[in-house]
Symmetry: C2
Subunit: 311 residues, 2 copies
């Protein structure tokens, strides 16, 4: 089944568009967490793995997908990557779709190697075998079509998805993304190419497998892109910790409440550290996670078209 | 010692600016190579590791640095990354500097996690320990300053280097890089930021730790950027297989033959497959590697300022 059709089916089941980000920052793990493991490489990566499983256990029945930030695993080398691989497998076993946030980019057969590795099958002996078998990747388009089309071809063959970074949620996003060329900003040029790259790969739900990353913190641009790209699924970072509100995120959705997924990483995983949750849950970080997720789901339901998912 | 000072010292020793790319594409490994290993995941990654070591053994005394293309290892999951880690360690033991070509990009503490992981030290128990300890990374600037500055800070602290993708060597590079904003193309905007990001980190040799990736296949742009960025070290891909010639690459160098390193991956590693080398070396792929490397070094010495390195 087409990636977006699978994703929307899961979103309808859970009745919300939230993606929980699994970004195990060692310095933000709940108090006492690292101390349960040996103070060496094996111990740290074991802690990352345990935290990922614990987080997934809490959110698995409540959301459609999780997004892993590869950097926090890669930083610990092969052992860290092994924990990422196992965590992704664990998430899938729990029924979640898995987005790999690595913002990979390269051209030709190198791009194809990334795509085959993370989404498809790699050459192994006489055959091709899956290695990561994830559901979707974030990718960066600065290298142009030759850096995207190889990903699209593999994703199309494997019924997987892509999110091309179009407009990010950070303050300096505009350094290059907002430069105006031929009467429109660079991110609009990227958006037009994203439409083109994806137009042959639209599923039953009317969305292409080639999605876009569009930050929550620039609502006017979210609205403008939503209108310009009606067949493009948005992955929206920046809600919560980076300052994006549900009123802003609202612009990412089509009127039926579909068309976007909204990621929250630290705001859920590390909710225990926020004053409001700390007062209520103390050292019960899992309780804080559960409540922060419920609060986000309710906030989106009340203030965005995603409320229509509750039917 | 500053990254560029170390690199130039090594370049003066070997008297050439060549970087050998280690891109173990399974479908281009020498005939009979994969067959020496079991036809499963362990066998494939063992073959990638053996090929990397064999290639490094041939080139280690002749060049200053190798560049690993991460995609071909990552595609095989944690086992592939383990082989990349071991191969990088092997290269360093042989006296080579190691560039990790992963074109990573993200913001803030996520960018810092990549930088700490690959170039610096990561939190582990009570202390910070090196995990990859590589010499330099390629990174992508589409996310703006917040996506670059965290890398620069870590690299400065650790005496390591960076190469920001400015102008790539592929045909579609211009899709976004050549869009003209405020009277100049986007890649020139990126170039100016690269200068700014690097200006506080210039070594004894007059070059910043923040370098630039500038493709060999657009000589006019190479010349223009060389003039505009006199303190920026260039990593030049595209020589050979992608069509870049020594006459084109010549524009990347300062008049003293320094200021650029020229990468060649397939053109050296898989030289055995080219008609000229095949006729001469047959199944002796190592002989083809050695000859292709000597030919490239001689070509650059004859037709670029790098000839001055021979004194």
């Amino acid at each position: 089944m087409h990636f977006v059709d699978r994703l929307f089916s899961a979103i309808r089941r859970v009745q919300n568009p939230v993606v929980v980000g699994v970004d195990p920052r060692p310095d933000e793990l709940p108090p006492g967490y690292l101390e349960r493991f040996p103070a060496n490489l094996e111990g740290v990566v074991a802690a990352l793995g345990q935290f990922g499983r614990d987080l997934i256990d809490i959110v698995a029945t409540r959301v459609a997908a999780v997004k892993f930030q590869s950097a926090f695993y890669e930083a610990y080398g092969p052992q860290g990557v092994a924990v990422l691989h196992a965590s992704a497998e664990y998430a899938r076993e729990k029924g979640l779709m898995v987005i790999f946030d690595g913002k990979r980019n390269d051209i030709g057969s190198t791009a194809e190697a990334y795509a085959r590795g993370y989404l498809g099958k790699v050459p192994m002996g006489e055959s091709f075998e899956p290695c990561w078998n994830l559901d979707a990747l974030t990718i960066n388009a600065y290298l142009g079509a030759e850096g995207i089309v190889p990903f699209v071809k593999v994703a199309a063959r494997e019924n997987k998805g892509l999110f091309v970074v179009v407009r990010t949620s950070n303050h300096s996003a505009g350094d290059f993304q907002d430069l105006v060329a031929d009467g429109k900003p660079v991110y609009r040029h990227v958006a037009e190419h994203v439409k083109q790259w994806g137009q042959a790969y639209v599923g039953q739900e009317g969305y292409s497998l080639v999605g876009a990353v569009v930050g929550a913190t620039y609502p006017a641009q979210l609205a403008e892109l939503r209108e310009a790209m009606p067949q493009t699924l948005f992955l929206v970072p920046g809600y919560g910790t980076q300052g994006g509100t549900s009123a802003e995120v609202a612009h990412a959705f089509a009127s039926n409440g579909l068309g976007a997924v909204v990621n929250n990483s630290r705001g859920i995983a590390f909710a225990y550290g926020k004053a409001a949750y700390k007062a209520r849950f103390g050292t019960n970080w899992q309780g804080a996670v559960e409540q922060a997720l419920v609060d986000m789901i309710d906030d989106l339901a009340a203030n965005t078209p995603a409320g229509r998912l509750r039917g």
